[in-house]
Protein backbone atom coordinates (compact mmCIF):
# COMPACT_ATOMS: atom_id res chain seq x y z
CA UNK A 1 0.00 0.00 0.00
CA UNK A 2 2.68 2.49 1.01
CA UNK A 3 4.69 1.66 -2.10
CA UNK A 4 1.65 2.31 -4.27
CA UNK A 5 1.07 5.72 -2.72
CA UNK A 6 4.76 6.65 -3.11
CA UNK A 7 4.29 6.42 -6.88
CA UNK A 8 2.48 9.75 -6.64
CA UNK A 9 5.28 11.72 -4.89
CA UNK A 10 6.10 13.68 -8.02
CA UNK A 11 2.58 15.09 -8.25
CA UNK A 12 2.65 15.97 -4.57
CA UNK A 13 5.94 17.83 -4.88
CA UNK A 14 4.42 19.81 -7.75
CA UNK A 15 1.30 20.56 -5.68
CA UNK A 16 3.44 21.88 -2.81
CA UNK A 17 5.19 24.21 -5.27
CA UNK A 18 1.84 25.27 -6.68
CA UNK A 19 0.54 26.11 -3.22
CA UNK A 20 3.62 28.25 -2.49
CA UNK A 21 2.71 30.25 -5.57
CA UNK A 22 -0.92 30.50 -4.46
CA UNK A 23 0.24 31.66 -1.02
CA UNK A 24 2.28 34.48 -2.55
CA UNK A 25 -0.71 35.56 -4.65
CA UNK A 26 -3.16 35.57 -1.73
CA UNK A 27 -1.01 36.69 1.22
CA UNK A 28 1.29 39.32 -0.25
CA UNK A 29 0.05 42.84 -0.85
CA UNK A 30 2.68 44.01 -3.34
CA UNK A 31 1.29 43.61 -6.85
CA UNK A 32 4.68 42.82 -8.46
CA UNK A 33 5.14 40.07 -5.86
CA UNK A 34 1.72 38.72 -6.80
CA UNK A 35 2.82 38.48 -10.43
CA UNK A 36 5.91 36.54 -9.30
CA UNK A 37 3.64 34.16 -7.37
CA UNK A 38 1.48 33.75 -10.44
CA UNK A 39 4.62 32.83 -12.41
CA UNK A 40 5.56 30.16 -9.86
CA UNK A 41 2.00 28.81 -9.97
CA UNK A 42 2.06 28.66 -13.75
CA UNK A 43 5.40 26.84 -13.92
CA UNK A 44 4.07 24.30 -11.39
CA UNK A 45 0.93 23.62 -13.44
CA UNK A 46 3.11 23.07 -16.50
CA UNK A 47 5.29 20.73 -14.47
CA UNK A 48 2.19 18.78 -13.45
CA UNK A 49 1.18 18.18 -17.06
CA UNK A 50 4.74 17.26 -18.06
CA UNK A 51 4.89 14.75 -15.17
CA UNK A 52 1.78 13.07 -16.52
CA UNK A 53 3.44 12.76 -19.93
CA UNK A 54 6.52 10.95 -18.59
CA UNK A 55 6.76 7.23 -19.32
CA UNK A 56 9.16 5.22 -17.16
CA UNK A 57 12.10 4.05 -19.27
CA UNK A 58 10.90 6.24 -22.12
CA UNK A 59 12.90 8.83 -24.01
CA UNK A 60 12.14 12.26 -25.46
CA UNK A 61 9.59 12.06 -28.32
CA UNK A 62 12.14 12.57 -31.09
CA UNK A 63 11.89 9.61 -33.41
CA UNK A 64 14.94 7.37 -33.76
CA UNK A 65 15.28 6.39 -37.39
CA UNK A 66 15.19 2.69 -38.21
CA UNK A 67 14.14 1.68 -34.69
CA UNK A 68 10.67 0.31 -34.13
CA UNK A 69 10.69 -0.61 -30.46
CA UNK A 70 11.78 2.63 -28.77
CA UNK A 71 9.53 3.76 -25.93
CA UNK A 72 8.69 7.48 -26.14
CA UNK A 73 7.19 9.82 -23.56
CA UNK A 74 3.85 11.33 -24.50
CA UNK A 75 4.39 14.35 -26.82
CA UNK A 76 0.85 15.78 -26.60
CA UNK A 77 1.07 17.41 -23.12
CA UNK A 78 4.40 18.90 -24.20
CA UNK A 79 2.73 20.59 -27.17
CA UNK A 80 -0.08 21.98 -25.02
CA UNK A 81 2.37 23.25 -22.41
CA UNK A 82 4.50 25.01 -25.03
CA UNK A 83 1.42 27.03 -25.90
CA UNK A 84 0.71 27.61 -22.20
CA UNK A 85 4.22 28.97 -21.49
CA UNK A 86 4.04 31.48 -24.32
CA UNK A 87 0.51 32.62 -23.47
CA UNK A 88 1.64 32.89 -19.83
CA UNK A 89 4.32 35.38 -20.81
CA UNK A 90 1.72 37.47 -22.65
CA UNK A 91 -0.46 37.58 -19.51
CA UNK A 92 2.58 38.40 -17.34
CA UNK A 93 3.47 41.31 -19.61
CA UNK A 94 -0.09 42.65 -19.54
CA UNK A 95 -0.31 42.26 -15.74
CA UNK A 96 2.97 44.12 -15.25
CA UNK A 97 1.83 46.90 -17.60
CA UNK A 98 -1.31 47.31 -15.48
CA UNK A 99 0.83 47.38 -12.32
CA UNK A 100 2.97 50.16 -13.79
CA UNK A 101 -0.22 52.08 -14.65
CA UNK A 102 -1.51 51.63 -11.10
CA UNK A 103 1.78 52.97 -9.76
CA UNK A 104 1.43 56.03 -12.00
CA UNK A 105 -2.16 56.67 -11.00
CA UNK A 106 -1.96 55.95 -7.25
CA UNK A 107 1.73 56.26 -6.42
CA UNK A 108 1.82 52.85 -4.78
CA UNK A 109 1.47 49.16 -5.69
CA UNK A 110 0.64 47.88 -2.20
CA UNK A 111 -2.86 46.46 -2.18
CA UNK A 112 -3.85 47.60 1.33
CA UNK A 113 -2.84 51.18 0.54
CA UNK A 114 -4.74 51.06 -2.75
CA UNK A 115 -7.87 49.96 -0.90
CA UNK A 116 -7.39 52.76 1.63
CA UNK A 117 -6.97 55.40 -1.09
CA UNK A 118 -10.09 54.14 -2.87
CA UNK A 119 -12.09 54.21 0.37
CA UNK A 120 -11.00 57.78 1.09
CA UNK A 121 -12.11 58.84 -2.37
CA UNK A 122 -15.47 57.11 -2.29
Amino acid sequence: MSASILGLWNYWAVIVLMMTGLYIVTARDNLVKKVMGLNIFQVSVIMFYVSMAKVRGGTAPILVEGEETVLYSNPLPHVLMLTAIVVGVATTALALALVVRIQEAYGTVEEDELVRIDDDDG
Binding site: Y11, W12, A27, D29, V32, E65, I85, A93, V100
Partner: protein
Protein backbone atom coordinates in the same frame (compact mmCIF):
# COMPACT_ATOMS: atom_id res chain seq x y z
CA UNK B 1 19.20 3.14 -6.75
CA UNK B 2 19.97 5.95 -9.23
CA UNK B 3 21.01 9.38 -7.99
CA UNK B 4 17.73 11.24 -7.30
CA UNK B 5 18.44 14.35 -9.37
CA UNK B 6 14.75 15.21 -9.75
CA UNK B 7 14.12 15.06 -6.00
CA UNK B 8 17.09 17.37 -5.39
CA UNK B 9 15.81 19.77 -8.06
CA UNK B 10 12.40 19.78 -6.37
CA UNK B 11 14.03 20.66 -3.04
CA UNK B 12 15.92 23.53 -4.72
CA UNK B 13 12.74 24.77 -6.41
CA UNK B 14 10.78 24.68 -3.17
CA UNK B 15 13.51 26.52 -1.25
CA UNK B 16 13.60 29.13 -3.96
CA UNK B 17 9.83 29.58 -3.95
CA UNK B 18 9.85 30.05 -0.16
CA UNK B 19 12.69 32.58 -0.39
CA UNK B 20 10.77 34.46 -3.11
CA UNK B 21 7.73 34.53 -0.82
CA UNK B 22 9.70 35.95 2.12
CA UNK B 23 12.11 38.28 0.32
CA UNK B 24 11.31 41.98 0.62
CA UNK B 25 13.89 43.28 -1.80
CA UNK B 26 11.98 42.74 -5.00
CA UNK B 27 14.98 42.93 -7.33
CA UNK B 28 16.58 39.85 -5.82
CA UNK B 29 13.18 38.13 -5.76
CA UNK B 30 12.89 38.83 -9.50
CA UNK B 31 16.31 37.31 -10.15
CA UNK B 32 15.25 34.29 -8.10
CA UNK B 33 12.14 33.81 -10.25
CA UNK B 34 14.51 33.68 -13.24
CA UNK B 35 16.58 31.02 -11.49
CA UNK B 36 13.38 29.17 -10.57
CA UNK B 37 12.44 29.00 -14.25
CA UNK B 38 15.93 27.83 -15.21
CA UNK B 39 15.92 25.00 -12.64
CA UNK B 40 12.42 23.97 -13.69
CA UNK B 41 13.76 23.78 -17.26
CA UNK B 42 16.28 21.25 -15.94
CA UNK B 43 13.45 19.27 -14.41
CA UNK B 44 11.53 19.35 -17.72
CA UNK B 45 14.60 17.90 -19.44
CA UNK B 46 14.66 15.06 -16.92
CA UNK B 47 11.00 14.36 -17.69
CA UNK B 48 11.78 14.12 -21.45
CA UNK B 49 10.10 17.42 -22.36
CA UNK B 50 13.02 18.98 -24.24
CA UNK B 51 10.96 21.49 -26.20
CA UNK B 52 9.18 22.67 -23.07
CA UNK B 53 12.57 22.94 -21.35
CA UNK B 54 14.15 25.27 -23.83
CA UNK B 55 11.02 27.34 -24.23
CA UNK B 56 10.93 27.75 -20.46
CA UNK B 57 14.65 28.59 -20.34
CA UNK B 58 14.32 31.22 -23.07
CA UNK B 59 10.92 32.68 -22.29
CA UNK B 60 10.49 32.02 -18.57
CA UNK B 61 14.04 32.55 -17.35
CA UNK B 62 14.93 35.22 -19.89
CA UNK B 63 12.00 37.29 -21.05
CA UNK B 64 9.78 37.13 -17.94
CA UNK B 65 12.69 38.16 -15.72
CA UNK B 66 13.42 41.14 -17.98
CA UNK B 67 9.74 42.13 -17.84
CA UNK B 68 9.74 41.86 -14.04
CA UNK B 69 12.92 43.91 -13.70
CA UNK B 70 11.52 46.51 -16.11
CA UNK B 71 8.33 46.79 -14.09
CA UNK B 72 10.36 47.12 -10.88
CA UNK B 73 12.33 50.07 -12.26
CA UNK B 74 9.01 51.84 -12.89
CA UNK B 75 7.45 50.97 -9.52
CA UNK B 76 9.30 50.18 -6.29
CA UNK B 77 12.17 47.91 -5.36
CA UNK B 78 11.08 47.35 -1.78
CA UNK B 79 8.01 45.66 -0.36
CA UNK B 80 6.47 46.99 2.86
CA UNK B 81 6.47 44.92 6.00
CA UNK B 82 3.00 43.58 6.63
CA UNK B 83 1.60 43.39 10.11
CA UNK B 84 -1.77 41.78 9.58
CA UNK B 85 -2.28 38.08 10.36
CA UNK B 86 -1.85 35.56 7.56
CA UNK B 87 -4.20 32.87 8.83
CA UNK B 88 -6.79 33.23 6.07
CA UNK B 89 -4.38 32.84 3.12
CA UNK B 90 -2.76 29.89 4.92
CA UNK B 91 -6.17 28.27 5.38
CA UNK B 92 -6.98 28.76 1.68
CA UNK B 93 -3.61 27.32 0.67
CA UNK B 94 -3.81 24.28 2.91
CA UNK B 95 -7.40 23.39 2.03
CA UNK B 96 -6.73 23.79 -1.71
CA UNK B 97 -3.55 21.73 -1.40
CA UNK B 98 -5.37 18.98 0.52
CA UNK B 99 -8.13 18.90 -2.10
CA UNK B 100 -5.58 18.66 -4.91
CA UNK B 101 -3.66 15.86 -3.19
CA UNK B 102 -6.94 14.02 -2.62
CA UNK B 103 -7.57 14.44 -6.33
CA UNK B 104 -4.27 12.77 -7.24
CA UNK B 105 -5.00 9.65 -5.18
CA UNK B 106 -6.67 7.71 -7.98
CA UNK B 107 -4.37 9.01 -10.70
CA UNK B 108 -2.05 6.65 -12.58
CA UNK B 109 1.39 6.61 -10.99
CA UNK B 110 4.26 8.78 -12.16
CA UNK B 111 5.80 7.21 -15.27
CA UNK B 112 3.25 4.42 -15.51
CA UNK B 113 3.32 3.19 -19.14
CA UNK B 114 -0.22 1.78 -18.73
CA UNK B 115 -1.76 5.21 -17.99
CA UNK B 116 -4.77 6.06 -20.13
CA UNK B 117 -3.27 9.16 -21.77
CA UNK B 118 -0.51 7.09 -23.40
CA UNK B 119 -3.00 4.86 -25.21
CA UNK B 120 -5.65 7.12 -26.67
CA UNK B 121 -4.39 9.14 -29.66
CA UNK B 122 -0.67 9.29 -28.81
CA UNK B 123 0.36 6.01 -30.51
CA UNK B 124 -1.46 7.26 -33.58
CA UNK B 125 0.51 10.51 -33.67
CA UNK B 126 3.78 8.65 -33.08
CA UNK B 127 3.03 6.23 -35.92
CA UNK B 128 1.78 8.80 -38.43
CA UNK B 129 4.37 11.53 -37.92
CA UNK B 130 7.23 9.86 -39.88
CA UNK B 131 4.87 8.97 -42.72
CA UNK B 132 2.81 12.17 -43.01
CA UNK B 133 5.09 14.95 -41.74
CA UNK B 134 8.56 13.42 -41.96
CA UNK B 135 9.96 15.45 -39.08
CA UNK B 136 11.74 13.40 -36.39
CA UNK B 137 10.55 15.61 -33.53
CA UNK B 138 6.92 14.65 -32.83
CA UNK B 139 6.33 17.72 -30.66
CA UNK B 140 7.24 19.98 -33.58
CA UNK B 141 5.10 17.94 -35.95
CA UNK B 142 2.02 18.21 -33.75
CA UNK B 143 2.66 21.87 -32.88
CA UNK B 144 3.22 23.16 -36.38
CA UNK B 145 1.19 20.78 -38.46
CA UNK B 146 -1.54 18.76 -36.76
CA UNK B 147 -2.40 21.59 -34.39
CA UNK B 148 -1.18 24.44 -36.59
CA UNK B 149 -4.33 26.52 -36.12
CA UNK B 150 -3.83 26.28 -32.38
CA UNK B 151 -0.36 27.74 -32.75
CA UNK B 152 -1.74 30.46 -35.01
CA UNK B 153 -4.23 31.32 -32.27
CA UNK B 154 -1.37 31.42 -29.78
CA UNK B 155 0.50 33.90 -31.97
CA UNK B 156 -2.67 35.98 -32.07
CA UNK B 157 -2.79 35.96 -28.25
CA UNK B 158 0.79 37.26 -28.13
CA UNK B 159 -0.10 40.00 -30.61
CA UNK B 160 -3.16 41.03 -28.61
CA UNK B 161 -1.05 40.96 -25.43
CA UNK B 162 1.56 43.23 -27.00
CA UNK B 163 -1.08 45.65 -28.28
CA UNK B 164 -2.68 45.63 -24.82
CA UNK B 165 0.62 46.51 -23.12
CA UNK B 166 1.20 49.35 -25.59
CA UNK B 167 -2.32 50.70 -25.08
CA UNK B 168 -2.09 50.55 -21.31
CA UNK B 169 1.27 52.28 -21.17
CA UNK B 170 1.07 54.75 -24.07
CA UNK B 171 -2.59 54.93 -25.08
CA UNK B 172 -4.27 57.81 -26.89
CA UNK B 173 -6.30 58.69 -23.81
CA UNK B 174 -3.05 59.74 -22.17
CA UNK B 175 -2.05 61.94 -25.07
CA UNK B 176 -5.47 63.62 -25.02
CA UNK B 177 -5.23 64.35 -21.31
CA UNK B 178 -1.79 65.87 -21.73
CA UNK B 179 -3.12 68.27 -24.37
CA UNK B 180 -5.92 69.40 -22.09
Amino acid sequence: MPFPVDAILFVFLLTMAVVIARRQELFSAAMLTGLFSLLSAGLFTLMDALDVAFTEAAVGAGFSTILLLGALTRTTGLEYQQRRPRTRPLMIVFSTGAALIYGTLDMPHFGDPAAAIHHHVTPDYLARTPVEIDVPNVVTAVLASYRGYDTLGETMVIFVGGVGVLLVLTGRWRWRRRVR
